[in-house]
Amino acid sequence: MREIEYRDALNEAFDEELARDENVVLMGEEVAQYNGAYKVTRGLWDKWGDKRVVDTPISEAGFIGMGIGASMLGIRPVMELMFWSFHSVAFDQLVNNAACCRYMSGGLINVPIVMRGPANGGTNVGATHSHTPEGLFAAFPGLKVCSPATPADAKGMMKTAIRDNDPVYVMENTTLYGNKGDVPDPADGDFLIPLGKADIKREGSDVSLIAHGASILRCLEAAEILASEHNIDAEVVDLRSIRPLDQDAIIKSVKKTNRAVLVDESKPFCGVSAQIATLIQEYAFDYLDAPVKRVCTIDAPAIYSPHVEPDQLPNAKRIVAQVLTIA
C-alpha cells in the first residue's frame, strides 16, 4: 500500500468524485486559484477549471446558502469553511436551511451538500479559530457529522459524504493535514468508507479509549504509555462518524474491557463524549467496573498561549492520568 498525506487523500477524493459526477462542485474561499488555504484542493482548479472549482467571496452565509439552494436542483456542492470556527456567521444556513428543508417539505426536497474544513485546536490561533463543533451540529437531526483521523478514513469518508443525499459535515484538522498514512491505490478500485461505522484502531482488553479525530492519535500515544509503563492494555475505538453513530462498536468494546475513558476535543458540556457516556450507562451499565471518565478540552475558550494550549486539549499525559484513576 502507498503512503500519502491526509490532505492529498482528501484531494484524491475530490478529484475522483469530480470525475465521477458532473454535478459535484468544489466551492469556498481560496479553494481554486490559491489552491486552498491549507492546500487541500491544490491542482484541482488547474485540472477542472472555473465551473467545477469555485472561489467565493468571504461570505459564508451567502455562498453556503447558495450551495444549499443549488443542491435543491441536484447540484452537489462540496463547500469549504476555511475553519469550521467560521460556522457562526452562516449558522442560519447551516442549521435552518440545510438541516430542516427536507423535513419541513415532508421529504420533497433533498439537500445533498458537503460542508468541510478543519475543526481543531492546538495551533495557537486563539478562541475564535479553535472551535470543534461536531457535537453541536450532530445535535441537529437532518445533519450527518464525521471526523476522520487518518488519511485513508479521510478519503473514504469524504467520497461517501459527497454521494450522500443529505447534508454531511466533515470535520477535518489542520494538525492532521500533513500526516502520512496508507491509502489504497485508486487502481485497486473505488475506496469508500461508510458513515456510521467505527474502527478499532488498537485492540485491547483493559480499558476502552473512545474518541474521534485527532484525539485518536493522542489515545494511541497514551495506549503505548499505558502498556509500557503501567501494564494496561487499552483498546482505542475510533468513532470516525459522530452521526450516524456506531453504538454497537462502543458497547461491544465496553462490554469487553468493562472500563471506558472518553476522549473528546470538544468542551465537556454536552459534547460528543456526553452523548457517548449516556449511551454507555444505558446499554452497558451492568458491565462497568468503574465510572465512565472523560478527557475533554479544559472548559474555557481556547487559550492562545503556546505554553499552555497543549495542556488545555486532551493529550497523552491527561489521558493516562484519567485511565489510572479507574484501572
Binding site: 447558495m66 439552494g69 437531526p141 443529505d166
Partner: protein, 397 residues
C-alpha cells in the same frame, strides 16, 4: 432606475410615492398632506402598462385566470383566518398576504418551465399562484398528514418542487441565498431560466441578503430579487427600519445591479417590469432588484394585534378603497370587456366554495402519527437503504 424604463423615471417614482408615504402617514402629519397631494396630483397619473409587449400577448382567458387566482388567494386566506380564529385547531403563526395578491400572481404568470420561485413566510399566495391546490395548503395549516408538507411545515413552510416552488421559509432573509442558489443551479446546468426570490422590506437589512446581492452580481446569477414592500418591517415602518436615499431597491447600485420600482397595485405594471427583469436574468445572467410597492391589510401575522396602532385606520381604509389590486384588476378587465360584473361574482363564489371545501378537507383529514415524526429527516432512513442500517441515526429513548 436603469433598464428599459429609464425615460419613465418621474412617473414611476410618482406612482410609487402614491403608496409609499401612505405607510409613513401615521408618523408625520405634514408628510401625510404632502403625500395625499402627490397621490392625487393630476400631473402624476400612473403609466399605462397594458400596451407593454408581455401584456399584449395575454389572451382574455389568461387575464381571467390571473383574476381568478387573485380572488382564490384572497378567499383562501380569509377562510384560513376564520378557521384560525374559530376554535384553536390551527396552531402557530398565520402571515396573511391579503392586499398584495397582484405581486405573486403577476410574477407567477410569467414563469416558464425553467423559472423557479422561493419566498419567505408569507407564502400562501405564491404557493397557490404556482398551482398548488387549496386542499393541500389548508390541510398544512391544520397540521394534517394530507398537507403539502405532511403537516411538518405549517403556514410558513409550503413547498412544491414539482411546480418549481421552493418554499416558504421562516427566517427573515434566510431564503435569499437559497434563491441565489436556484439561479446558480440553472446557470450551472445551462438552462435558460431564472430564480424569483421574494423578500419583504424588513429583510433587506439582513446580512445574508447583502451577501447574496454581492455574489449574484459578481457571479452573474440569473436571480430576480423581488422586495414586496408593504411599508412595515413587522410593526416598524420603513423609515424607522431602513436607511435609504430614494427607495430600497436603489441599494443595488452599490453592487452594480439593475433595479426598478413597481407599483404593485397595477397588475400590468407588475408583469411588465418583472418580465424585463426575468428576461435580463434568463438571457444575460444579470440579477435585478425589483421593489414592489404594496400593502397588507392585516398585521404582520395574526398574532400582531397591534397593527392598527402603528398605522392609522384611515391609511388601511384608503388602501382598501383606492388601491386594492383585485378591485383595480377587476375594473380594468370589466373596462376591457374581458370580465362582467356577473362573471366576476361567479369567480368569487367559486373561490369561496373552493375555500370552504378545503376547510372541510382539512378538518376531515388525518393527523400525522407519532411514527411520522422521525420520517423525512434523512433520505437514507426514509428509503431504508443499506447505509441506513449502519450506525445509529436517531437517539430517542
Amino acid at each position: 432606475m436603469r433598464g428599459l424604463f429609464l425615460s419613465d423615471l418621474g412617473q414611476n417614482a410618482a406612482a410609487a410615492l402614491v403608496l409609499r408615504p401612505l405607510a409613513e402617514a401615521a408618523m408625520s402629519a405634514p408628510e401625510k398632506s404632502f403625500v395625499m397631494e402627490t397621490a392625487n396630483s393630476p400631473n402624476h397619473s400612473p403609466l399605462n402598462f397594458a400596451g407593454s409587449p408581455i401584456n399584449k400577448t395575454l389572451s382574455a382567458e389568461e387575464k381571467l385566470e390571473t383574476f381568478r387566482q387573485m380572488v382564490r388567494i384572497r378567499r383562501f386566506e380569509q377562510a384560513a383566518l376564520k378557521n384560525y380564529q374559530k376554535d384553536g385547531t390551527m396552531g402557530g403563526f398565520l402571515h396573511l398576504y391579503i392586499g398584495q395578491e397582484s405581486v405573486a400572481v403577476g410574477a407567477a404568470s410569467l414563469m416558464g418551465d425553467h423559472d423557479h420561485m422561493i419566498t419567505a413566510y408569507r407564502c400562501h399566495a405564491h404557493a397557490l399562484a404556482v398551482g398548488m391546490n387549496m386542499n393541500e395548503c389548508m390541510a398544512e395549516l391544520y397540521g394534517k398528514a394530507t398537507g403539502c408538507s405532511k403537516g411538518k411545515g405549517g403556514s410558513m413552510h409550503f413547498f412544491a418542487p414539482d411546480k418549481n416552488f421552493w418554499g416558504g421559509h421562516g427566517i427573515v432573509a434566510g431564503q435569499t441565498p437559497l434563491g441565489l442558489g436556484l439561479g446558480y443551479g440553472l446557470k450551472y446546468r445551462g438552462l435558460e431560466g431564472c430564480a424569483l426570490c421574494f423578500l419583504g422590506d424588513g429583510a433587506i437589512n439582513q446580512g445574508a441578503f447583502h451577501e447574496s446581492l454581492n455574489i449574484a452580481a459578481l457571479f452573474g446569477i440569473p436571480v430576480v430579487y423581488v422586495i414586496e414592500n408593504n411599508g412595515y418591517s413587522m410593526g416598524t415602518s420603513q423609515k424607522r427600519s431602513s436607511a435609504y436615499k430614494d427607495c430600497l431597491a436603489q441599494r443595488s447600485e452599490a453592487y452594480d445591479m439593475d433595479w426598478d420600482v413597481v407599483n404593485g397595485e397595477d397588475f400590468y405594471e407588475v408583469r411588465a417590469k418583472t418580465h424585463i427583469a426575468m428576461e435580463r436574468a434568463r438571457k444575460e445572467h444579470k440579477p435585478t432588484i425589483l421593489e414592489v410597492m404594496t400593502y397588507r391589510y392585516y398585521g404582520h401575522s395574526v398574532a400582531d394585534a397591534n397593527h392598527k396602532k402603528y398605522r392609522s385606520p384611515e391609511e388601511i381604509a384608503d388602501y382598501k378603497k383606492n388601491h386594492d389590486p383585485i378591485n383595480l384588476w377587476r375594473s380594468k378587465l370589466i373596462e376591457e370587456g374581458v370580465l362582467t360584473e356577473e362573471s366576476s361574482k361567479t369567480i368569487d363564489t367559486e373561490a369561496k366554495l373552493e375555500a370552504t371545501a378545503s376547510t372541510k378537507f382539512a378538518e376531515e383529514s388525518p393527523a400525522p402519527t407519532i411514527e411520522d415524526i422521525t420520517n423525512d429527516v434523512y433520505w437514507e432512513t426514509d428509503n431504508n437503504t443499506e447505509a441506513s442500517q449502519i450506525g445509529r441515526h436517531f437517539f430517542n429513548d
